[in-house]
């Protein structure tokens, strides 16, 4: 038994207890707060399983934004659940027990927890982790470097070369000599399953897709290999934002502002807020920019940016916030983020490549182009996420209390 499993066991017991409490507690307010606690516990579970990016997102989105949204809603709909006569709903219990039993039946043939031999660890993913997906080294004739091939194109930011690329397609010895190997990047999982792959029409990506610019392989998957999913993920957020405007915004003639309480007479709060907002903003931008190097990225950074605005609104009132970011401006900015993302993709296409083929942005040094594209789209994501979170907060706060 190792530490991961031990901590995991204890944390998950806590998580389960919290989940039961969330469902069974009578006060909705308590339920909302418990949801926040639940998310923070989950964030710990993710850390324990080495999923830093998910943990960061869970803490920011689940622990932060969701709880704010829930509490904001409770202000309007009341905080007590109506008492129900029988506490236990037997049909529901039977139904869930059966569904659960079916799911557990399905786990019986699963690879064991942490088993390195599971298909998902040695099929397809190793190339993604080694960041050698785009490097075409398979079928004969495809592997030859293009005319006028220049090794300097594959020079990394630290001055070293990730190649060398062999002429013979069957020669896989380059891997043994490559920097991936000498620096310990060619982990056993990678070597075991490094099969040739090539298709007509692929241009040569560098052997190391991002020229070593993207140590965080979660970001490389998120923004490059599966960047198209992430574009629509941003669109989902955007959709949520405009749906809230559709459903909750009051007619224009009534104006945006209702007199609301501001805590602005509290001197300490005012001073502390004013002092901390610049740091929150800088931290937000740091998280977005740093996403390629370590945990973080557009989503997490965007949520952090949004908290700065929300804090400002809470302390100085929404009138003050609207002077900084008027609703028409934030409406448009929610869309601008999606447009930055899809525009980057379209630019790659207009330059003659496939949609979202970032290497087109810098044909001379493709790996750097990839890195540039990823930074651009992360900022697009950050902008949309922060503005949508702000819009959602505004819409919920704008609602008349009943």
């Amino acid at each position: 038994m190792n530490a991961v499993v031990l901590i995991d066991t204890l944390l998950l017991l806590l998580v389960t207890a919290t989940a039961v409490a969330i469902i069974e507690v009578r006060s909705l307010y308590a339920s909302a707060i418990l949801t926040g606690i639940y998310s923070l516990l989950m964030a710990l579970v993710w850390v324990n399983m080495h999923s830093m990016d998910v943990s960061f997102t869970e803490a920011a989105v689940g622990g932060g934004i969701s709880t704010i949204l829930l509490i904001g809603t409770l202000v309007h709909v009341g905080r007590e659940e109506k008492p129900i006569k029988k506490r236990l709903h037997v049909p529901a219990l039977i139904f869930t027990a059966l569904t659960g039993a079916a799911l557990i039946y399905g786990t019986l043939d699963m690879p064991r927890f942490g088993d390195p031999a599971a298909p998902i660890h040695h099929y397809r993913v190793p190339e993604m982790m080694a960041q050698t997906v785009g490097f075409v080294n398979g079928t004969p004739g495809k592997q030859k470097p293009p005319e006028g091939f220049d090794l300097d194109r594959y020079r990394r930011f630290d001055g070293r070369v990730t190649g060398p690329i062999p002429d013979d397609p069957k020669d896989t010895a380059w891997r043994e000599k490559s920097i991936l190997q000498t620096e310990g990047l060619m982990v056993p999982q990678v070597r075991a399953a490094h099969e040739p792959h090539a298709e007509e029409g692929h241009h040569l990506h560098p052997p190391d897709d991002f020229n070593g610019h993207v140590p965080n392989s979660v970001t490389s998957l998120l923004a490059a290999y599966r960047g198209y999913d992430t574009m629509f993920e941003t669109t989902v957020i955007f959709t949520a934002g405009i749906s809230l405007i559709l459903l909750l915004r009051r007619p224009r003639r009534e104006g945006y502002l209702q007199p609301g309480a501001a805590l602005s007479d509290q001197v300490i709060l005012r001073v502390v807020t004013k002092l901390s907002i610049p740091f929150i903003l800088i931290f937000g931008f740091y998280v977005i920019t740093h996403g390629e190097l370590g945990p973080g990225g557009g989503f997490q950074g965007g949520v952090v940016l949004a908290t700065a605005f929300i804090l400002y609104a809470l302390i100085f009132g929404r009138a003050a916030l609207y002077r900084v970011v008027p609703p028409p401006v934030s409406d448009i900015l929610t869309g601008v983020g999606v447009l930055i993302y899809s525009g980057t993709g379209a630019a790659c296409m207009l330059l003659g490549g496939k949609f979202l083929d970032y290497s087109m942005l810098n044909p001379a040094v493709p790996g750097d182009g990839e890195s540039l594209g990823m930074t651009l789209v992360e900022y697009g994501v950050g902008l949309t996420v922060s503005m949508v979170m702000l819009t959602i907060f505004n819409q919920l706060a704008e609602e008349r209390s009943t």
Binding site: I120, V236, S243, A346, M349
Partner: protein, 506 residues
């Protein structure tokens, strides 16, 4: 800079990204007719692209076009993969989307507050974008993401009926909860499959499953199959998982009902095609697993029960909603036969039902536009007052019945043939015939009210709906009649799609 760009090779991605970018830009189109005009332009452009794409697919030697996003090899990145089946569905969705957008102008003007038309049409275009995205992709997880886009937009669109009737809100919330549970089951199924196969590309997944020793007895694969089936059943409103649909279609704004009935559930069925035929394969789904029995029993029960329920409805939109669940039953019964005629009937009925039911919901919306309600009593005597609208409704109803020279006849012809060919499946043919009789009954109730009863109250004073509503309505109904008389195009495509589905991976 632009000389390197060509439209044709990029068509698969343009079909989805043009409405994405167009949808986002809608929010700056002002508050007058701007958003609607922009939406018409975008959906028209997308329709044009799907026509071009159809031509490309028909001309392609392998019958398949593959587009690798970001130029990453498809096993690692995300692939768009278009064959005869999804080119046909894309054409249907984009075509109906375009015509419904034309229709939407008047009805949206009346039913949605003017100051949020830009947001409404943004959500509208994104809904079409999500549906097209599900249809074009060859990546299992990409399906889930696009599914959530189309679902979120649809929840919002349905809820916009709130100013007409507050029940739109509860209908939308119920759909949100059931739909999210369904989508979660799909996500779970994809996760189980990914764990066993190690990949997300559909074709790659199929190869890995086929190579798996004893996949039929692998408990993880079995549970994945079951949960995908339930999740998809919820999304496509397969009886008895259709609880969300009648209320949602009844209380949504008229234009939204027309769009949803023609596209949303159809894309759900397309997903079922992909998961059952492309990922699991015919051998697994229909031979080793009893999917054919489960699906055909559910579909046939659905046809009968919802047919009877539809006859008892007095609200036109609700009647059409129940009829939709029944018609989806025909589509599901068709592919559960797992032979060429059955699957072809199923594919062609996706198109035929989309144009017929879209047109009929438009007719109901036109009555709603003039009278503010659309129950049977309001319809009385409308045959004389709104002749074009009522004629469209009746023509569509004949299609649902499967009257010769309508598109519905073609579908049922294939279905009955398929049912008689398959061993022990003749009850399906019987149910198809009984279902048609039920369709006669509920269509007749409307005909009776409209043509053989005297108008009362407001109905006596109304005039025909505006041309901008009647024209799109008749484009769809006209299409259903045209493709009933000359079914060469739709029939050929469906046969081709059916053969490639049954022949294994596309």
């Amino acid at each position: 800079m632009l000389d390197a760009f060509e439209i044709v090779p990029n068509l698969p991605v343009l079909v989805v990204t043009v409405p994405l970018i167009g949808g986002v830009l809608t929010i700056v189109m002002g508050r007058g007719k701007g958003p609607w005009a922009w939406a018409t332009l975008i959906t028209g452009l997308v329709f044009y692209f799907t026509v071009l794409l159809m031509q490309q697919v028909l001309a392609a030697k392998t019958g398949t076009i593959s587009y690798e996003l970001g130029n990453w090899p498809r096993q690692w990145g995300i692939e768009y993969r278009v064959d005869a089946l999804n080119a046909f569905i894309l054409l249907t969705v984009a075509g109906v989307g375009f015509v419904t957008t034309l229709y939407a102008q008047k009805s949206v003007e009346k039913e949605i507050p003017q100051d949020r038309h830009n947001f409404f049409y943004a959500v509208w275009i994104l809904a079409i974008c999500g549906l097209l995205g599900i249809t074009v992709t060859g990546d299992a997880f990409n399906v889930y993401v696009l599914l959530e886009i189309s679902s979120l937009t649809v929840y919002a669109l349905i809820a916009m009926g709130k100013d007409m009737n507050r029940q739109a809100l509860t209908a939308s919330l119920r759909y949100l909860i059931l739909g999210s549970v369904g989508a979660s089951f799909i996500l779970l199924g994809i996760g189980y499959l990914m764990m066993v196969t190690g990949t997300l590309n559909m074709e790659d997944m199929h190869d890995r499953l086929a190579a798996l020793p004893d996949a039929v007895h692998n408990r993880t694969v079995l549970v994945a199959f079951a949960f995908l089936l339930v999740g998809l059943g919820m999304k496509m409103a397969l009886f008895p998982l259709h609880m969300w649909l009648p209320k949602a279609y009844t209380y949504a704004p008229s234009a939204v009902s027309a769009l949803l009935s023609a596209t949303a559930t159809k894309v759900g069925i397309y997903m079922a095609f992909r998961f059952l035929f492309t990922i699991f394969g015919v051998g697994f789904s229909f031979v080793a697993m009893p999917a054919n029995v489960v699906l055909s029993v559910a579909a046939c029960t659905g046809i009968l029960v919802t047919g009877v329920t539809a006859v008892r409805q007095t609200n036109l939109k609700r009647m059409l909603a129940y009829s939709s669940v029944g018609q989806l039953g025909y589509i599901v019964a068709g592919f559960s036969l797992a032979n060429v005629n059955g699957v072809a009937g199923s594919v062609v009925h996706i198109f035929n039902h989309a144009v017929m039911k879209g047109g009929m919901f438009m007719a109901a919306g036109a009555i709603m536009y003039r009278l503010g309600r659309c129950d049977l009593r309001a319809v009385r005597g409308l045959g004389k007052r709104m002749p074009l609208t009522m004629a469209a409704f009746v023509a569509g109803g004949l299609g649902l019945v499967g009257f010769p020279l309508t598109a519905g006849f073609i579908s049922k012809w294939y279905l009955v043939q398929g049912a008689l060919e398959a061993p022990h499946m003749w009850p399906v043919a019987a149910v198809v015939l009984v279902g048609s009789l039920l369709a006669v009954a509920y269509t007749w109730r409307v005909v009776e009210a409209a043509y053989f009863q005297e108008p009362e109250g407001d109905s006596a004073l109304v005039t025909e709906a505006p041309l901008s509503m009647v024209l799109p309505m008749w484009i769809l109904i006209g299409a259903s009649v045209y493709f009933g008389v000359s079914a060469t195009f739709t029939g050929d495509i469906s046969m081709r799609a059916a053969k490639s589905l049954l022949g294994g991976a596309p």
